[in-house]
Structures are given as structure tokens and as C-alpha cells.
């Protein structure tokens, strides 16, 4: 399958996770990775399955590298109804009620643009003991299988 990994990051963890995911997933798929900062909603190749990896910053806000993308998406009302995607969120349970809210903000904007989310949002807690990739890889493989089933 053709996959696009897109990350929104503040401290670099989402970028690291995408690099790791790409390394694993490209054994069986065609994978490209980009920072949301370098992408506009109009750039998205709608025939590819998109996996967004997005952290949370400040008080449940988007990380800096995702802000312009979401602002543009809302302002230009890009039609993403042909886009199928999944979201993996990075957060920290220390921040309680805003835990992993950045990925919710991104998801809400994508859904409002008509994009179709597949499966559950993946979640990683920086205060937990799990390595991000250990959670994200099986999660991504399950989402890719779902996307594949839709195509068949």
C-alpha cells in the first residue's frame, strides 16, 4: 500500500516515531514521511493512506509544526472527502484533562473537511513505560489492514 506519514511535533518525538515507523513499514509498503509544517492540505495525495502522528503542547494545543496546516485547512475548507486516514497521538497523562488533546484538534479539523478516519485513535503516554514504537507499530499495521480491506 502507498502510505504517507505526517507528523506534528514540538520536541521532536513525533518526528522520531515517524522515522521509526517508516523504517519498519517500508519493508512491505511504499512509505513517505513529511513534517506537517512542510505540507498544505491541498498537497495531500488522496490515493495514499495517511497516518498522522501528532503530539500535544501547552494546554492541550497543537504542536507548533501542525498549527499552520490546521489553520489553512479551516480557512480554505479544502475538500478531503476522498482522504482516508488514521491518527496516532502523543501525550502526557500528567496533563490530565488535556491529555493527548492535540491529536483531537487535528482529527476534528480533518473530519470537518470530510476526511474519513479509520479505526481508533492510537495513544502514547510519555509518562508511561511503553516505547512509542512498541504501541504505534501494531496499531499502524491494524489500521493499514483496515484500509487494505476497504480497497479490496
Amino acid at each position: 500500500m502507498k502510505l504517507s506519514l505526517l507528523y506534528g511535533t514540538e520536541t521532536g518525538t513525533a518526528e522520531m516515531l515517524c522515522e521509526d515507523l517508516q523504517e519498519k513499514l517500508e519493508e512491505t509498503h511504499e512509505v513517505e514521511t513529511a513534517n506537517l509544517e512542510d505540507v498544505t492540505p491541498g498537497d495531500l495525495a488522496l490515493d495514499r493512506f495517511h497516518i498522522f502522528v501528532c503530539s500535544t503542547y501547552g494546554d492541550g494545543e497543537l504542536p507548533s509544526s501542525a498549527i499552520a496546516f490546521v489553520d489553512t485547512l479551516k480557512a480554505e475548507k479544502t475538500d478531503l472527502s476522498a482522504l482516508r486516514y488514521a491518527v496516532f497521538g502523543l501525550g502526557d497523562t500528567t496533563y490530565d484533562i488535556t491529555y493527548n488533546n492535540g491529536s483531537v484538534v487535528l482529527m476534528t479539523a480533518l473530519n470537518e473537511a470530510g476526511a474519513q478516519v479509520l479505526g481508533e485513535r492510537g495513544l502514547h503516554d510519555a509518562s508511561g513505560l511503553d516505547e512509542p514504537l512498541d504501541l504505534a507499530l501494531p496499531w499502524a499495521e491494524a489500521r493499514i489492514a483496515e484500509a487494505g480491506a476497504l480497497v479490496d
Binding site: 520536541t11 521532536g12 518525538t13 503542547y57 494546554d59 500528567t94 490530565d96 510519555a126
Partner: protein, 404 residues
């Protein structure tokens, strides 16, 4: 021959710089030097021990040493073990990433017993070899001066009971066990407080802590105000925290040669708060690196972090003591681009020459892994880690590893 770069300091600014530089220069020999035997600087010793999620940024830094061919050399003090000039002879480029760790003092309180800097206190709670053994006597009443996130860290760690550090790596018995009353002083009004709303809400989760305000809180748009209003009047059967806004400390009140209180000015009135100790959390400065000013004044381009032809600076050392850990990532990209643009391999020998020059035991990343493993395995119940708090102990453990 590939270029050689030394990065002085293995905290967030040094590690982010190594990360950014590695992306631009896959072949360069990159060496991160630290005066301590262990890496990660502020992340290990400055981030509050109950904020393990923030400390988890070391997951990124670890791969520099585990996968990306960046070398760590610890227990090397640039200045006394090797001079900066010598380092510049050994490496094609040298980057200063040592941060700014000295507490900015509160003038009228300098040298008064019972007055502590937030940096020293935080380092002690984090088991820093220089501060872990420092005795802090907080007594029953503590005045914390400052309205930023560091002040809030200090307040939270003092306010928690011993049972509320689950999952942290706080060191030893220096918790605020004796503390009954905490006063938090801020010069500005509540609406202008610099701490984050998330930090305010975290205080609300401390079970026994009662919270009140010395004056009525203003109404307003500021996000932090809503959270302060929500906290105000919180009941608790343990310690009490009182917020004092628009309140500036004037001087210490002494009784029988000991600190007994703080005189403050609030809306033109003088107020005295009784206390046994004061923690100042009013920022950091460069008082312990006086030579930094001259270096920056003569710099080719401070904006790019370029001090001289082959000497660079990044992070707080470059831009001063403001901004978060993540801000150093942007700094690193900027400075790494400047280095990559000017770097010329000059046949300078790099880390081999440094290792030959240092006559005493240094540490490698492998040594850190050994210490890390020991610390995790030695964690007391409900803690993720027990910090090894003496350099001698660290070096002894590493020497043991060498003879295996």
C-alpha cells in the same frame, strides 16, 4: 577526512544540536562532552522529578549515542581538564551548549541563611552530585518568590506529601515533610502570571493541600485566571498554599540571627509574612560564566550562534535564560545550519586527541547505560529510579564495568 565537532554540554541544547548536525553532516565525527559522568543535564537535573513525561525526551537523545554514531565523553570539565583553546585546536568546530544554571539572586536576601535558589533546590531533589548533599531546612512556613513554572515546580514538590511521588525519581528524604504553609509571591497580578494553566491544575490534584488567595482574584480573559478561580478555597487537611499577587519581597525579617519572615510591599502597603525559609525562583543568569558576556559581545553573529570562526554557541548559553526545552530544538537547527555552512575539515584529530589529553577516568555512553541500569534496578518502591548522587560512586561503578 571527515570533520570533527565537539559539543560542550549534554543537556537539551547540546543533544538537540547533535541531532540537527547529524542530519546535515552524516559523516562528521560528533562528540558530546559533559563535566558530569552522566548525560542529559537539565533534563536529568532540572526538570521536576515528578514530570517523567518531560524527562522522556531522553528517548530521542539516547538514539544519538545508540544509533547515530555520536560519542559521549563524560567527567571532562572544559576549563580545568582541558581549556577551550586546546579544544579548539583538537576539533574543527566547538559548540558551547552549557546552558545557564545559576539562580538569579534576590538582592536583599543574598547570603541570608534559610534562603535557597530554585535551581539548587531542584537539582537536590533530582540528586545532582553538586547539590544532593546540601541540607535544606524548609521548616514549617516557606515563602516561594516567583510566578513562573519553576516556582510552581517548587511549590508542588513542597506541597506534596511523601505518598504523592509515585512514578517519580525524586531523591532521598528532602521532601517538604515539615512544611505546613507555603506562600507564593508574584510581583504582577494574577492575570499576568507567567506559569501555565496546566501547572495550576496540577496543584488541584494534591489531595490534602488547602489553597487560598491573599487578595480577591480579578475576573478576566486570561486562561490561567479560570484555573486559579477553580482552585481558590480548595479544602484540605494537610498543608496550605496561599497565592500572593501584586506582592514584591522587600527584605528578610531576622530574629535572633535567624530568618523569621519576609517583608513585602503590596499595593503600597507593607505586609510581613512569617516564614522559616525562602526559595527564590526568579530566573537564571550567567553569573558563574562571567566570560560569556565578552564572548557574545565580540561574536561574529550571535543570531546564528557563531562566536568566532570555529566556535559556536546554542541554547540558553547563546540566547539567554528564556524558553522551554523544545525551543532549543529550533535553536539547534539554526546553529547546526551555520556550522554546516562554514565547517572545513582541517585535519584536526578530534576525540582521540581529547581522550589522550585527559589523564583521569572519563565515561562513555556505555558507562552511562551501566549507571542507568543500576539506578533503575535500585529504585525504591513506587519510584522509577534511584539517582546515584556521587561522582565517585558513578566512576567506581564504571571502573567495575571496565574490568568485566
Amino acid at each position: 577526512m571527515s570533520a570533527t565537532v565537539a559539543i560542550v554540554g549534554s543537556g537539551p541544547s547540546g543533544c538537540y544540536l547533535a541531532q540537527a548536525l547529524r542530519k546535515l553532516l552524516p559523516e562528521a565525527e560528533l562528540t558530546v562532552i559533559d563535566r558530569l559522568p552522566v548525560p542529559y543535564g537539565l533534563v536529568r537535573y532540572g526538570v521536576a522529578p515528578d514530570h517523567q513525561g518531560t524527562k522522556a525526551v531522553t528517548r530521542q537523545f539516547a538514539r544519538l549515542f545508540e544509533r547515530d554514531g555520536v560519542e559521549f565523553i563524560g567527567n571532562v570539565h572544559v576549563g580545568s581538564d582541558v581549556s577551550l583553546a586546546e579544544l579548539e585546536e583538537m576539533f574543527d568546530a566547538v559548540v558551547l551548549a552549557t546552558g545557564l544554571s545559576a539562580d538569579r539572586p534576590l538582592a536583599a536576601f543574598e547570603g541570608v541563611g534559610g534562603v535557597y535558589g530554585s535551581g539548587d533546590v531542584t537539582r537536590a531533589w533530582n540528586g545532582h552530585p553538586d547539590d544532593a548533599k546540601a541540607g535544606f531546612a524548609f521548616g514549617e512556613a516557606v515563602v516561594v518568590v516567583g510566578n513562573g513554572n519553576v516556582a510552581m515546580d517548587v511549590v508542588r514538590l513542597l506541597a506534596k506529601d511523601a505518598g504523592e511521588f509515585e512514578g517519580s525519581d525524586i531523591t532521598g528524604d528532602m521532601l517538604g515533610g515539615t512544611v505546613r504553609q507555603i506562600h507564593l509571591l508574584g510581583r504582577s497580578g494574577a492575570e499576568a502570571a507567567k506559569f501555565d494553566a496546566t501547572m495550576v491544575r496540577e496543584l488541584g490534584k494534591i489531595e490534602g493541600l488547602a489553597i487560598d488567595m491573599a487578595q480577591p482574584l480579578p475576573e478576566g480573559e486570561a486562561k490561567v485566571l479560570a484555573d486559579l478561580h477553580a482552585l481558590n478555597g480548595k479544602a484540605g487537611d494537610g498543608k496550605r498554599l496561599t497565592f500572593h499577587f501584586n506582592t514584591a519581597p522587600v527584605g528578610p525579617v531576622m530574629k535572633d540571627g535567624r530568618l523569621a519572615g519576609v517583608t513585602c510591599r503590596r499595593d503600597g502597603d507593607e505586609v510581613t509574612l512569617a516564614c522559616d525559609s525562602v526559595v527564590t525562583a526568579i530566573g537564571f543568569d550567567a553569573r558563574d560564566v562571567a566570560w560569556r558576556d565578552a564572548l557574545l559581545a565580540r561574536a561574529i553573529d550571535v543570531g546564528q550562534g557563531r562566536l568566532t570562526e570555529r566556535l559556536y554557541a546554542t541554547g540558553w548559553f547563546r540566547r539567554g535564560p528564556t524558553g522551554t526545552i523544545a525551543d532549543n530544538r529550533g535553536d539547534a537547527k539554526l546553529v547546526a545550519a551555520a556550522i554546516a555552512g562554514h565547517l572545513q575539515p582541517g585535519g584536526r584529530p578530534g576525540r582521540l586527541a581529547l581522550q589522550q589529553k585527559i589523564g583521569h577516568q572519563t565515561t562513555s555512553y556505555r558507562d552511562w547505560q551501566r549507571i542507568d541500569e543500576w539506578e533503575r534496578n535500585s529504585a525504591p518502591p513506587n519510584r522509577v529510579r534511584a539517582k546515584m548522587t556521587s561522582k565517585a560512586e558513578m566512576l567506581a561503578l564504571c571502573a567495575e564495568g571496565l574490568s568485566e
